[in-house]
Symmetry: C2
């Protein structure tokens, strides 16, 4: 099987949520898996001097409208949560822990967490919400809470953010196929061409 | 015939160039025309505090790569010109003049000017290059040079930039269909759905 698609994202990115709902089917069509790699976009935005999208004059209003319209275009349930954006460090650490401890549950958690925030509007930055999502996935919330408070998981997330920056990741979703980077949900048609034909 | 698609753009925007090569065929498929409206993106970027894309750390390098890859994806000839970006006030005024004086030649000039810069790498901000493009289109360069130096054309461009900002335009291409705004070459699939089905 060919190397998996690497999918860098922040749980607080609406466009990453939309892409997360399609990327596995797209990858599978071409015999690929997906390696979901959570990062914290705040660090990338700081490196680029990027302001928060929704706070930019003109662009902010357009973006709110475009999130929802792009979701309808993709046929994916969406609400703009309040608060938005949020800190997603807990969700990111939980996913990294699961990828190691219960890899067969990791993607279930990923989708449940994204949907809790962007389809149900639940505040994923709050511990009880996060742990309820963990519970929904048939996992032990106490075990999760203990695991993500440990230094190794914290260090792993920091290392993944640093690695992403070193690879040129400045937004989400940021998708690598055979080392070629594609930024944004709206680059999925180009990702598909690359999967189908190779370099173009 | 339904109202034309309004296509706001700057002659210095690579993504607007790519979209300009497809938008008329897309519009015609749904019985629409295209009203090309040149603006100066510098004014919009100032209103939003947006830096130049290619000067942003990480994003700048990605963008250069993405311009060319998106052109190959679309099957449109492309070179990243040097210098880039440039002042496009002369080309914008020329198009506005033509839309009034020789409307049947306006879109020929638009495509010839975009291609001179983004397919042939000619510096469209230089008077002789601009006037050579005018000549190529079967128009009189001296008449063009005189017309675009007049106050009414200057005022018309300024008014169009102000109108664009008032409508929320912050980048290019910015496309309105029946009042609904779509930003970016990568929103053409959504533009097509709107043309085909109406609001979604």
């Amino acid at each position: 099987m060919a190397a998996p698609i690497e999918f860098y994202f922040d749980f607080s990115s609406p466009y990453a949520y939309l892409a997360s709902e399609r990327i596995e089917a797209l990858a599978a069509k071409y015999g690929r898996g997906v390696d979901f790699r959570p990062i914290l976009l705040g660090a990338a935005f700081k490196a680029c001097g990027t302001p928060l999208l929704i706070e930019v004059p003109l662009k902010g209003d357009y973006s709110r409208h475009d999130f929802a319209r792009s979701a309808r275009f993709a046929g994916v349930p969406f609400v703009l949560p309040d608060p938005f954006p949020i800190s997603t460090v807990g969700a990111a650490r939980t996913l990294l822990w699961l990828k190691e401890a219960f890899p067969e549950r990791a993607n279930d958690f990923l989708h449940a967490a994204f949907r809790a925030y962007f389809a149900q509007g639940r505040n994923l930055s709050e511990g009880p919400v996060l742990l309820d999502v963990v519970r929904q996935c048939g996992l032990d919330p106490e075990q999760a809470a203990a695991a993500i408070a440990e230094a190794p998981i914290k260090a792993r997330l920091k290392a993944q953010v640093d690695e992403a920056l070193a690879r040129g990741v400045f937004g989400a979703p940021f998708i690598f196929v055979d080392g070629e980077g594609f930024w944004g949900n709206d680059r999925l048609p180009q990702v598909e061409r690359w999967l189908a034909q190779g370099p173009f």
